[in-house]
């Protein structure tokens, strides 16, 4: 058998297998039950507009606030990690290892019920909103610190040397020359981090019960239980994809642009 003929037969086999699998799924699945459970029009109608105006809105709000906290904290930790004073490096490294090494859910639970057990007479401002934003910020700061550090180190040393040779102090050279270039380098990975945060905001499911502070996942979960139907999960999933797919597209565009820009 010629190699060419062999390749054709293998390819034909792959296609056949695919078609058979699709047909089997179409014929064997119980489409009626699936539709009733996951795509019930009446249940779906009851979700709107609150799933958008409350659920999605809160998800976006928690994510963006958490991202802002994480970005500022991550920048500070990245600079500490690169400090010439050893204790700063140790603290930064410890922070990064701890928050990358424990489950995000644990941080969420600590920020919510855990916090009130530990400090009964204090509370994080903003209720679920504050707890979720702080938890997201603490966790994402660890990841962003490493991304930003890598970005700073990716700026060629000649840039800092040129800045210093013009009489700039170390701090001035960092602020005016190195960090602006590092931020450009880390925009795509930080956008990726935003996508991850967006999904992690669902961990707020384990915080509080205030109706107006429910984010997408809790909102969908509550309604699914209430209606004894899974349609809300599907709608919530679509809401997440509505944000994450365009963001993913944006990341690929940014990366492509960056690769083009380099000579």
């Amino acid at each position: 058998m010629s190699p060419r003929r062999r390749r054709r037969i293998i390819l034909a086999g792959e296609y056949t297998l695919f078609v058979v699998a699709v047909l089997a799924a179409a014929l064997l699945a119980d489409w009626g039950t699936l539709r009733d459970n996951f795509a019930d029009g009446d249940v779906a109608a009851k979700l709107f507009p609150d799933i958008i105006t409350v659920g999605l809105r809160n998800t976006v709000l928690y994510t963006l606030t958490g991202f802002a906290i994480g970005l500022v904290l991550g920048m500070v930790i990245a600079l500490m990690r690169l400090s010439s004073a050893a204790p700063y490096r140790w603290v930064a490294l410890a922070y990064i290892e701890v928050f990358r090494g424990i489950p995000a859910l644990l941080v969420f639970i600590f920020m919510g019920p855990g916090f009130s057990i530990a400090f009964p007479d204090r509370e994080i401002p903003g209720g679920v909103f504050g707890q979720a934003a702080v938890a997201l910020g603490l966790v994402s700061a660890a990841y962003m610190a490493e991304t930003i550090r890598a970005g700073i180190q990716a700026v060629p040393t000649g840039q800092a040397e040129a800045a210093r040779s013009l009489g700039m102090s170390h701090g001035r050279a960092m602020r005016s020359i190195v960090i602006p270039q590092a931020l450009r380098i880390v925009i795509p990975p930080l956008t990726n981090e935003l996508v991850l945060l967006f999904k992690d905001s669902s961990l707020a499911l384990f915080l509080g019960v205030v109706l107006s502070q429910r984010e997408l996942t809790k909102f969908a979960n509550d309604l699914a239980n209430q209606q004894a139907n899974s349609t809300p999960y599907l709608i919530a999933a679509l809401c997440y994809l509505l944000i994450t797919i365009p963001l993913g597209f944006l990341v690929r565009r940014l990366e492509a642009r960056q690769n083009r820009g380099r000579r």
Partner: protein, 263 residues
Amino acid sequence: MTTTDTAPAVEVAALHKSFGDLEVLRGIDLSVRAGEVVCVIGPSGSGKSTLLRCMNLLETPTGGTVRIGGADITDPDADIDAIRRGIGMVFQQFNLFPHLSALDNVMIAQRKVLRRDRGEAQRVAKENLARVGLADKADSYPAKLSGGQQQRVAIARALAMDPGVMLFDEPTSALDPELVGDVLGVMRKLAGEGMTMVVVTHEMSFAREVADRVVFMDGGVIVEEGPAARVVGEPAHERTRMFLRRVLDPAAAEVGEAEPAGD
């Protein structure tokens, strides 16, 4: 010129520099008068770039002193940022700031270090871009400029700080051969205007025509120095003769000829 005729513009005494166990500079004494153009030549690894980088403390000397306009820059209490303002440095790899336009490259240190106001900095920047023949490229970003143009912007960036001394670290070594002439032309003009210049270079014709003095380094020491015509035309030492033979007529070199005899 801020230096008086009595103090040399640059005075290097008993300079030593080691990187770990590797001794790169082994006792350099060199004095450059105000308005003088000194070319430093020598094989790669001879320490000539390290010598230049010690002159503005991009490398910290292991021993000895460097005085710029009479001020000891190796003194631990010296304000190195202030001293570097008076020393222009041009790098082999240009090191332009890629996130800034040509104009902003020339303006940023004037603004952030000399605290010149926007109008003044812009005027000086345009003046110096015109001086290197790039008045029409003010708005271009480095990625859009040829190597030769980038290097001339880098020269304008250094000149905008009104330095008393200009250091050039192999300024044409990273350029395509047809672009070398533009950069050497700018440097020749600067020399004609009376700028004090220390130039590490492999361009023998530039050294012969423009330099007041040529210094030949090998193995971390100055082997010989003197008027350009004598050092390049009638070198006294065998090591200088062998180096010049290889540089002036690379095709004629024998295999293994330049291998050090071992010392």
